[in-house]
Symmetry: C2
Subunit: 444 residues, 2 copies
């Protein structure tokens, strides 16, 4: 007899999902995936682990520090440990991906002879980041990425934004606000207000805008700058730069953003608003052009975001290839949906208790026939008193119970109990299938 | 301009999947999942990473040696490396799961107050093993597990076997042979032929039966035993123990296996045969009772296997809880299906080239309306000559192309090109939807 010696919780920052939670997650993934496919995007799937050299120095900025690294194995590990002092960097060779963009770029580089550009591609999968666990922040979470590789046209931005807005639509999320900005503008702002050499630290801080109280952000920026912030800069920080002012401030950004906004307005997407947000950065250092984010009034943070990363593929490939992508955060979307309403994929299951082991074979045959007609059937998988079997049915919230004993098998008259009102109906075996289809299958 | 400095291949033993490969994998997963649900099994999802103490010593035997371990982070890592000599065991705290059974047992222990037994549960997810990469053996692969927790009745075995056979059926795999054995029998055989103290080494070797040539297996067993194998033992090794001989040899195994075989025969599952296989072990040391495997004449190895593991949950929980499970190996099944026939989820996509950027908005509206009616549409996501856009369509094997220029928009007469024969049909905008539905959507 053993006793429990250690925690059976999932590791800190990780989660277990059971039953309905899994069904909802999968339903969401399949709906998003269907929308992406309806735009002609092709799916890819890449390994959870990548060679560390792929993940490191990829422009993932802060996220690169959060890579879960896996130890080398066998002799290679022993060799490294034999060195004194041991080199931390050399102990690990692989790491869990921290996003889906870096693996996509590796895939483009690796298969560029087979892939025809422009390539419309999507990727829905978990990513891992060794963040300090805290409420609502997980170390394993799903991203639903959609990308266009090999097009430097704004048409590509329009396409990924449309696909993502439509995906939200298909799961009944509207009233989204689309925030837009341009990396060149961020650099211009950084330059103008004196962050020149410290532009990437500046961008990293700016990206924490949502997580930090404004005063804290301000003081960190002032520390970085070594002086107080100007009031003009403060109002930009608060998103108060009027879009028209951008024209003189940074004309290239103005041109491309204004074209994008015009075209987006024409599309009549089901968005609450499209706004220019000069303080929007998006964490990844690999963005080079437009950046965007979808926000919802009921969600504290962005539901998705993305941008153009024209330089990243060139890190892996001989020739630079432009690309733009948009990623939906699955957990944030789920959180929003759970607050709004139940989002489910109900399946009515017929329960059949086993009153006598000798009858199990007959019950299995009945179940098999029903399943062949799309009716889900749970035959009690053990030996227990009828009372306990019915308790089992109740604990699973099963509504319909088919009672079939020896007598019923002989007479061909079965009993169907409805747990919702306790009523029992007699049904002839011949009519069973038709009757149950009507009760248990969703109307077409 | 950067140049490629490192390999962009996936890490050794890992794979990338693109387009149709992903679609096939997902289709298979969704079909198997639908069958499991139709039996009343509930899904679970657990983290990729588990605390190492959960994975180690769990009876995973050989597989425990193959755990990908992740390095501790921050100070904890620095502290360990500061110790001299560094303790390999203390450098890592988490590991990627090597199967889905150990995580399930942890989940049962953790949520035992909420879970009502018997619990019918399934889990479809990747697992990772740091095996020496070789043909057909991957370091990341999917398992499709179905388990019944809390029932010690053979009814549970019958239920998981039925569900798995039905899952194979639903993907058009029949002619499977079900191999059955019992752990007690393996122990009795081990005892009888002198492996007494070395029973687990004996079982590990026996499990390699498929991977080793018979003579090699024989010599390794002889080395372990320290003497030559008897001819009786050799015939058992070759699966030649007649089932009736089991009666005197190990009566408890005989009783439970014969009941199981009788009941399985009655179920009339679409199996080619059900055979007693005294040399069947199944690698995991956690099995305690029946063990089984599904084999197919065209596959070199088992397509799935499982057994009863009544002791494993007790490792994590105060009270022991019996359990039985069956796992389908997704990659082996895919390999078999690919050999047999194409297995696909074709989606016809309509291609719309953009002949003039000014028209893109109008084309987007047309695409939006069609997508709202289940027609997948790919509007070319860049700026290119019509000739190159049509090349793009051909490279994607798109059959239908909708040609809409300024003239067509004004007249409302569109052109639909069929790449299969090069024909072009004129269609009025009013009739477009009906026409395309007939051509592109599968008949109901």
């Amino acid at each position: 007899m053993s006793t429990q010696r250690f925690s059976t919780k999932p590791p800190s920052g990780f989660r277990d999902f059971i039953g309905q939670q899994v069904i909802e997650r999968n339903l969401l993934v399949s709906r998003i995936s269907r929308v992406y496919r309806s735009f002609g995007f092709e799916p890819i799937e890449t390994p959870a682990l990548e060679n560390l050299e792929i993940l490191q120095g990829s422009g993932g900025q802060e996220n690169e520090k959060l890579i879960f690294k896996t130890l080398k194995r066998g002799e290679k590990l022993t060799d490294e440990l034999g060195k004194s002092p041991a080199d931390v960097g050399a102990l690990a060779d692989l790491g869990l991906r921290f996003d889906l963009t870096v693996p996509l770029c590796r895939v483009v580089a690796q298969y560029q002879n087979e892939i025809k550009l422009p390539w419309k591609v999507f990727h829905i999968a978990p990513v891992w980041r060794a963040e300090r666990p805290q409420k609502g922040r997980y170390r394993e979470f799903f991203q639903c990425d959609v990308d266009i590789v090999g097009s430097d046209s704004i048409a590509a931005e329009l396409e990924v934004i449309q696909a993502v807005v439509e995906a939200f639509n298909q799961v009944q999320v509207s009233d989204l606000v689309l925030h837009l900005n341009h990396r060149s503008l961020i650099e211009k702002i950084g330059d103008k207000f004196g962050f020149g050499q410290k532009i990437s630290e500046f961008a990293i801080l700016l990206d924490k805008k949502d997580k930090l109280p404004f005063e804290k952000l301000k003081s960190e920026l002032e520390t970085l700058l070594g002086s107080r912030l100007s009031s003009e800069f403060e109002s930009i920080l608060q998103g108060e730069l009027p879009f028209e002012d951008l024209k003189s401030f940074c004309s290239s950004s103005y041109q491309s953003l204004s074209y994008m906004m015009e075209e987006l307005e024409k599309l009549n997407l089901s968005l609450a608003r499209i706004v220019f947000d000069p303080s929007l950065v998006r964490g990844m250092g690999y963005y080079t052009g437009s950046v965007f984010e979808l926000r919802h009034p009921s969600a504290g943070c962005a539901l998705g975001g993305g941008g153009r990363y024209d330089g990243l593929i060139g890190r892996f490939s001989k020739s630079p290839i432009p690309a733009v992508g948009f990623s939906i955060g699955l957990e944030r979307l789920l959180l929003l949906l759970q607050e709004k309403q139940s989002f489910s994929d109900e399946l009515s299951v017929l329960f059949i208790p086993v009153m006598n082991e000798a009858l199990r074979g007959d019950l299995f045959s009945i179940a098999k026939e029903l399943r062949a007609n799309q009716i889900a059937v749970d035959v009690f998988p053990g030996e227990a008193k009828l009372k306990n079997q019915l308790k089992f049915a109740t604990s699973r919230a099963y509504r319909w119970v088919l009672l079939v004993g020896e007598e019923e098998l002989q007479s061909g008259e079965f009993q169907l109990k409805d747990f919702s009102d306790g009523s029992v109906t007699k049904i002839n075996r011949q009519k069973l299938l038709t009757h149950l289809k009507r009760l248990l299958l969703p109307a077409k």
